[in-house]
């Protein structure tokens, strides 16, 4: 066996999993052998996947490593909270790894990703329409499709399609810019921009109709961020920001739901048993852990509503302490950092845009949900990537990760390394 050391972080993930699954074995009476079995499979899969990535040089080694630690923390908390969901999450994890590799290879193989803008857009609208017509409302949001007991959220998948749509646009728009042509082209570019804006706002409109505020916010942030990075026209950026600000204010006054969320954020104590219930229970939990937590299984995170999904972070803070919570934030930060590194190292604009979109998706989504459950910002119902329970969330996250992984491999080969730059100079 490998020597366990900080010099090989993978050994630490495996060690943490061994100890955690071992501890969980004793958690329930009678002692649960299934969790030991599941634990061994998980450990094997993590070790195997990591070795595969490193030995075969399948791109950045750190992405999977960080995600493996995050998902491990996820299973452990979810199993502790709900045995059945814990096992389900582990199964989704296996599926997720499969999708991870699938996305990786598929992405590398297919070269025409940047030409399918309308395919993505139509597919997204299609999914939105289906959800609108056939969708079920679960916990206030009408963005679920339920087939034979299996529920999944199309909006998760649409996130990726959305990123690809934007990336296509920003790829082309630049080419237009380079060809120093006349007014005609400027008009086309203007139309292109407006067309994109229309598409984006339609997307957001659908989400708002579904009452999925968190995802709408996320889409908007991704749009603005990518516009900032790839479009040299700052005025347009400001215009959009203004629209957003006005829209937000209008929404606050016009929509009861939004007003409630903002008021509950500012002072949940006036209605602790009603509107403020979720956030106050979350705060009680976070405050009950101390710096090291109560210990796994020793706190009462079961008092928190939605604890396996939106509020999983609060449960982590209660049982694994403030240090545990901060560690999770740091892990997401390093993940985002790695993502940005990949963005910088990629030459091709399309790939750059996709990588940026995915990195921002992970980063901002994490900020929005953690910020919401600690009451830094108003609460929105989105998931914590890789940790929250949820098939759709986990699979989408792994698909996105796979794509990011693929870009890290490809980008490395065309235009990222120093020797290439040097070569260009000498020719």
């Amino acid at each position: 066996m490998l020597i366990v050391s900080y010099k090989r972080p993978v050994s630490l993930v495996l060690l943490a999993d061994i100890l955690a699954f071992g501890l969980l074995f004793f958690y329930r009476e009678p002692h649960d052998f299934y969790i030991l079995g599941a634990g061994l499979l998980v450990i094997g899969l993590i070790a195997g996947t990591y070795l595969l990535i490193v030995k075969k040089g399948l791109g950045d080694e750190y992405l999977f490593l960080i995600v493996s630690m995050l998902t491990s923390i996820g299973f452990i908390m979810i199993y502790r909270l709900n045995r059945e969901l814990g096992f389900k999450q582990i199964i989704w994890f296996f599926g997720g790894i499969g999708l991870f590799f699938a996305s990786y290879f598929v992405y590398i193989r297919i070269k025409i990703w940047d030409k399918l803008m309308y395919v993505y857009a139509f597919a997204s609208f299609g999914l939105f329409l289906i959800t609108l017509v056939f969708g079920s409302t679960i916990k206030g949001s009408t963005n679920w499709i339920v087939i034979k007991g299996f529920s999944f959220q199309p909006s998760e998948l649409i996130k990726i399609l959305f990123i690809f749509t934007l990336a296509c646009y920003f790829n082309h728009s630049d080419q237009i810019f380079l060809n120093a042509l006349t007014l005609k082209l400027k008009q086309i570019k203007l139309k292109g921009r407006i067309a994109l804006m229309v598409i984006v706002y339609m997307f957001m409109g659908f989400l708002l109709m579904q009452r999925d505020w968190g995802t709408a916010l996320l889409f908007f942030i991704i749009y603005i961020t990518m516009m900032y990075a790839f479009d040299s026209n700052m005025k347009f950026l400001l215009l959009n920001s203004l629209i957003a600000a006005l829209g937000g204010v209008a929404g606050y006054f016009a929509l009861y739901h939004i007003r409630v969320r903002v008021e509950t954020w500012l002072n949940p104590w006036t209605d602790i048993s009603g509107k403020g219930y979720q956030i106050t229970q979350s705060l009680f939990a976070i405050g009950s852990g101390g710096f090291f937590g109560t210990g796994l299984g020793m706190g009462r995170p079961d008092f928190i509503p939605e604890v396996t999904t939106d509020f999983i972070f609060s449960a982590i803070c209660e049982e694994m302490g403030i240090f545990g919570g901060v560690a999770v934030v740091l892990l997401y930060f390093i993940l985002a950092y790695r993502g940005f590194k990949i963005v910088l190292n990629t030459g091709d604009r399309f790939k750059k845009a996709v990588a940026l979109g995915i990195t921002c998706m992970f980063g901002f989504q994490t900020f929005i949900i953690i910020g919401g459950v600690i009451k830094l910002i108003p609460l929105t119902g989105i998931t914590l990537p890789f940790i929250s329970y949820g098939g759709s969330s986990l699979t989408t996250s792994f698909i996105a990760l796979g794509i990011l992984q693929a870009i890290s491999k490809l980008g490395d080969q065309d235009g990222g390394s120093i020797a290439d730059e040097r070569e260009q100079e000498s020719h």
């Binding site: 501890l23 545990g324 950092y337």
Partner: protein, 149 residues
């Protein structure tokens, strides 16, 4: 009983997670500084040094390898991490090849590798062979072009 285990474990878990974070940051930092060092090398010597350039397509090779390796003095090449140039090609031996720089001239010597080293198609013996601009070097699955100004 479980309470005691869990109470002890919480400290252990936190320690492991933070060691993990530290480990990753450390590796990333090492990566950056080695890239930075290479960059500095390039900037400092300004392209006056000889180098070997990979001819194969990198994506066809199943292992991580750079496009170019600068020959900056005596350098050893092989699979083992102890080499100056580390390439994890399964067909490359632990210590495969050595570049020797003397009086501004570069020669290459096979270190007793399993699959051999080839210069311009000719397999090297145990003696060093001088390299000239344009020579082709074959080791493992890779073909390199030797470039010297």
């Amino acid at each position: 009983m479980y309470e005691m285990l869990s109470s002890i474990m919480k400290y252990i878990f936190i320690t492991i997670i933070y060691l993990f974070i530290y480990g990753i940051i450390r590796l990333i930092y090492l990566d950056i500084s080695s890239m930075g060092a290479k960059g500095k090398q390039v900037l400092k010597k300004g392209g006056k040094l000889p180098y070997i350039k990979l001819i194969n397509r990198r994506e066809n090779l199943g292992f991580k390898v750079e496009e170019t390796y600068i020959i900056d003095g005596n350098m050893e090449l092989g699979r083992s991490n102890k080499n100056d140039i580390v390439i994890k090609d399964p067909y490359v031996s632990g210590k495969h090849l050595k570049f020797i720089m003397k009086d501004g001239k570069v020669s290459v010597q096979d270190m007793g590798s399993t699959n051999g080293s080839f210069v311009n198609g000719m397999r090297l013996g145990s003696d060093p062979v001088y390299l000239e601009d344009g020579d082709k070097i074959h080791i493992g699955q890779m073909d390199f072009l030797y470039v010297e100004k």
